[in-house]
């Protein structure tokens, strides 16, 4: 069963939602970039087209595939919705009908000189709701002592 709910899939496929891909290089240094054009396949994996063959993201995704490392995709919707998906790249595709679909979409969106190097498939392993209100509610439930106590909501009128 896919880890991705209908809400997350809709966000990933919403062109107005911001999507970022986080990877690490050979030294473990983070590399975070904005990407677009995500789709979720029937098997639950994320697919998106990487534009450049020599990009740091491409190398880092390949490193993750070869050496079994994690990457993360975070999607930010309007009105504060945010989900982080951690997973592993499972395939780089530059020949299949899916690749051709992405290639043609790039051409339609950006003109006949646009290009992609291929399509990355990422298998989600963990999903985390990163909306601040959700994280805040969880922390206050599990770690109430992390709050400051001068909050308005905690104030009660002094009894006389």
């Amino acid at each position: 069963m896919s880890l991705l709910t209908a809400q997350i899939i809709a966000l990933l496929e919403d062109p107005e939602a911001v999507k970022v891909v986080a990877t690490t290089d050979e030294q473990g240094r983070p590399h975070v970039v904005r990407r677009e054009g995500f789709t979720v396949l029937d098997d639950g994996s994320l697919a998106y087209a990487e534009g450049l063959e020599s990009s740091q993201t491409k190398s880092n995704l390949l490193r993750a595939l070869w050496y079994d490392r994690y990457v993360a995709v975070t999607v930010f919707g309007k009105e504060g919705a945010a989900f982080q998906i951690k997973g592993k790249p499972v395939r780089f595709d530059f020949t299949s009908p899916l690749y051709k679909r992405f290639y043609q979409a790039a051409r339609e969106s950006y003109g006949k000189d646009s290009d992609i190097t291929g399509v990355w498939l990422i298998a989600p392993e963990e999903v985390r709701n990163e909306a601040f209100e959700v994280r805040k509610a969880e922390e206050e439930r599990t770690h109430p002592y992390f709050r400051h106590l001068d909050r308005e909501s905690l104030k009660r009128p002094l009894s006389t």
């Binding site: 070869w66 499972v90 780089f92 299949s96 051409r107």
Partner: protein, 426 residues
């Protein structure tokens, strides 16, 4: 360890050399051991149009564009059921090794080691132009071929004077093609075939990124290799006409040429060249590549690659070694340590001069001199070390090899080097 021992298998080598990706080791291992296709997989591949039937002289063979691993790396040549009988007799493989099997599991293609699933694999689609003909009826598939996925290959002429002179490179198994081919040059008609084929091929969206032109060696001419150069220029002209400009990423795998010839080819649209040294050690070069030794010699072959850097720039010139040829017995190195030390010395010498080097896995096929000599392929461990060595030297000298990598040619070491953008290469 001598070259006659199989040595550790895939899992052991992967554990011993964790920096070399296991998928790259698997690619090498499929080249060493071969891949046989089950009837079930053949039927599914045929149903999904991944096999192009090529009939010639009453014999039907399959053309496959490529079979790719998850990372896009291609695996070794496939052998179908009807080829198996001749396969055993026509190839020398590592002692005791058995081929991988390509079968289907739940409707998908998988590579199996005996009965154990190893990796899912994916057929690359047959190019759309393969079943078309030129205006004079030439099958376009006879004019150009995919090799591999993003590279459109054209064999400029099908003969090699080294074979005719009985001085073929000892590992070369192309005798059938390279003796029967014509040596009277391209005609207007044959160039028109190339023009029409390239024009048709380019209609396929998102497919081609580079051209590869190759031929046998032809040392004839006022200046040696002038005839070979002129034929390349004719074909480059036909490609230019089809593309509509000289900006078509023409890559040439040819003989060692003079600097003036490299310049002529650059002016005609070539951007990257590969004069292959094949074997670094001088005595072994003379022994294993007697044609190259006679028609120019090792010094000329090396200087030609170095001269080419002046014309094409660093990262656009690649030599090649046939990995394992230097272990041929009784005249070659006795240990893989000595063999690797020699080869990597040569690779570093060239890298210091701006030339990068790739390697091919030695195949000992029936029509080669090596087959008659009873030579055997090197071990997987040798190739793991060679892959790492070549990649390390490229990183040390920051030389890119993008024109010759996993989807534009497919050598194990250059396929590994694709990870080094942009941190470790220019």
């Amino acid at each position: 360890m001598g070259q006659n021992q199989v040595g550790p298998g895939l899992d052991e080598v992967a554990e011993k050399y964790p920096e070399v990706p296991k998928l790259i080791l698997l690619k090498i291992d499929t080249g060493l051991r071969g891949v046989t296709v089950t009837s079930r997989a053949e039927a599914l591949a045929k149903a999904e149009n991944y096999l192009f039937e090529n009939s010639r002289g009453g014999k039907t063979t399959y053309l496959v564009d490529g079979v790719l691993l998850r990372d896009g790396t291609s695996i070794g040549k496939l052998h179908f059921q009807h080829e198996l009988q001749s396969l055993a007799a026509d190839h020398i493989r590592s002692d005791g090794s058995h081929p991988y099997t390509l079968d289907t599991l739940d409707g998908q293609f998988w590579l199996l080691d005996k009965d154990r699933p190893v990796e899912q694999v994916f057929f690359s689609p047959i190019p759309e132009f393969y079943d078309k003909k030129t205006s004079r009826g030439t099958a376009m598939v006879d004019v150009a071929k995919s090799g591999p996925a993003s590279c459109l290959s054209i064999i400029v002429f099908g003969y090699c004077h080294f074979w005719r002179d009985k001085r073929a490179c000892k590992y070369c198994d192309l005798v059938g093609n390279f003796i029967s081919g014509r040596d009277d040059g391209h005609t207007e008609e044959s160039l028109q075939d190339i023009y029409e084929t390239v024009a048709e091929a380019l209609k396929e969206e998102g497919r081609w990124q580079i051209f590869r032109l190759t031929a046998g060696s032809d040392p004839r001419g006022n200046l040696s290799y002038d005839v070979e150069t002129e034929e390349y220029i004719k074909v480059l002209g036909a490609i230019e006409r089809a593309v509509g400009s000289k900006d078509f990423n023409g890559r040439l795998v040819g003989s060692a040429l003079h600097k003036s010839q490299w310049q002529q080819l650059k002016d005609a649209g070539t951007v990257a060249v590969e004069p292959h040294i094949e074997v670094w050690d001088k005595d072994l070069f003379d022994n294993i590549c007697p044609g190259k030794a006679k028609y120019g010699g090792r010094g000329f072959w090396l200087q030609s690659a170095i001269d080419a850097v002046e014309v094409y720039g660093r990262g656009n010139v690649c030599s090649q070694i046939v990995g394992g040829a230097e272990l041929a017995q009784p005249y070659g190195f006795k240990t893989i340590d000595a063999a690797l030390e020699s080869s990597l010395e040569g690779v570093e010498y060239l890298a210091q001069r701006g030339v990068t080097t790739s390697f091919n896995v030695l195949q000992v096929s029936k029509s080669s001199v090596f087959f008659r000599e009873g030579q055997k392929p090197a071990s997987l461990e040798y190739y793991a070390r060679l892959t790492k060595g070549l990649r390390d030297i490229r990183r040390k000298y920051r030389i890119p090899v993008g024109f010759n990598d996993y989807r534009r040619c497919g050598h194990p070491d250059t396929s590994f080097s694709r990870i080094d953008f942009p941190e470790a290469v220019a």
